[in-house]
Symmetry: C2
Subunit: 238 residues, 2 copies
């Protein structure tokens, strides 16, 4: 491998290293099916109301499965106008627990790429969500020992990245961020003068979507999967 | 001030810098009052069942207000055998939100002591609980700028303290930990060869209690309030 320009490679975790949004979407579909007999409105209306509850609660709960579960319960009570029975609420709590315990499905190329890169670079995970849950997922991924740093943060914006990079004395010019979210993994890094590679996941949570006009203002590489990352580094990292 | 032996002072946050357990206890009392018409058993039985639910869920939820709220809902459904109405569940969600937004009541001496110590030492907060919630509480405390480091961790045991001290290159011999919990703030620090001062809070969560026989094995200073910390440092820190 040629001498890398980058010394540290930072990875988002959910939907970058392993599947996440799919598990949330599955629970959302189960929620819709469960609530429909009690609620007015079609599937889209129910999903819209859930999303509105999540956004309203974001400033209290932050990201993650526990806040999502609390929002499921709240939306169920609202949409059913208080008619949802306690057994239905218990079902929602169980969905939340399933979500927290979901198996770790590593994405294509994750294991091989992280193993190989760990021999040449310092590796970091920067993820948002519930502290306890994210630590548990990394432990269950089998990849934890390959990472030098783990940062679980409450928001992924310019201020957060500046703070994290400063904490580890990382030069943005020598650090590459890799993630599936333009909003959380790519744009704030480019805004602080850093480097980022985008590896889209097939599903994007509405909250993470970025308008085409905003996207057009930024230049970044897009890869199909982590399998392409080493080749990209060969071409761009030297 | 004489030359300190300690370079860094680390503080627990909940019930060390500001009131916490009191807010949880208040919600617990409200929970008991709300659930009694639906449940068999007296106040102690209801509290015991809530605690059992919390402990059962700890490995899924970790510490903090969101997991506590989910456990309130689960216990209410169990104790009422599914008879609790959705309006009651909504009340519990509102209790949880109140808990997350509770005002920050700094403990006696916290503000003056932290301000004064920040001129002589590096200061750190090491706390467990919900990441987002703890960051928000520190921001609202007005003390955030006086601390050099903030560490929100999922568990406070020997492994965690070793990791945190290593991350900031802190020598346990030159670092003092200050907190209200023998189990989380004092004993693991002494076990890694560090220094700790105990400042008890008037209420201790059952999960944090330590047996007298275990306490007797450890030697540590106990202060009445943060007001006594500077004097103690004058006597022991040089």
């Amino acid at each position: 491998m040629s001498k890398p320009k980058f010394k540290t490679i930072a990875f988002d975790a959910d939907d970058t290293l392993w599947v996440n949004e799919t598990f949330f979407s599955d629970i959302e579909s189960k929620f819709v099916a469960m609530i429909r007999p009690y609620a007015k409105g079609d599937t889209d209306t129910i999903k819209k109301r859930l999303f509105e509850t999540e956004m309203r609660n974001l400033s209290l709960f932050g990201y993650g499965a526990k806040g999502f579960t609390l929002s499921l319960v709240e939306t169920a009570i609202e949409l059913s106008e208080g008619q949802i029975p306690a057994t239905g609420i218990q079902q929602l709590l169980d969905y939340g627990k399933d979500l927290i315990q979901h198996p770790i499905h590593l994405l294509e190329g994750a294991e091989e790429t992280i193993k190989s890169l760990s021999e040449h670079y310092k590796l970091m995970v920067i993820t948002k969500g519930d502290l306890f849950h994210q630590e548990d997922k990394l432990a269950r991924s089998g990849l934890a020992d390959l990472f030098d740093y783990l940062e679980i943060v409450s928001e992924k914006d310019e201020a957060t990245y500046k703070r994290v990079y400063a904490r580890y004395d990382l030069d943005p010019a020598e650090t590459l961020m890799v993630g599936n979210s333009l909003k959380s993994d790519v744009i704030p890094i480019l805004d602080i003068g850093g480097h980022a590679v985008h590896i889209p996941f097939h599903t994007t949570w509405a909250h993470e979507k970025v308008s085409d006009s905003k996207q057009a203002k930024y230049q970044y590489a897009t890869l199909k999967s982590l399998n392409e990352l080493e080749q990209w580094l060969e071409e761009h990292g030297a």
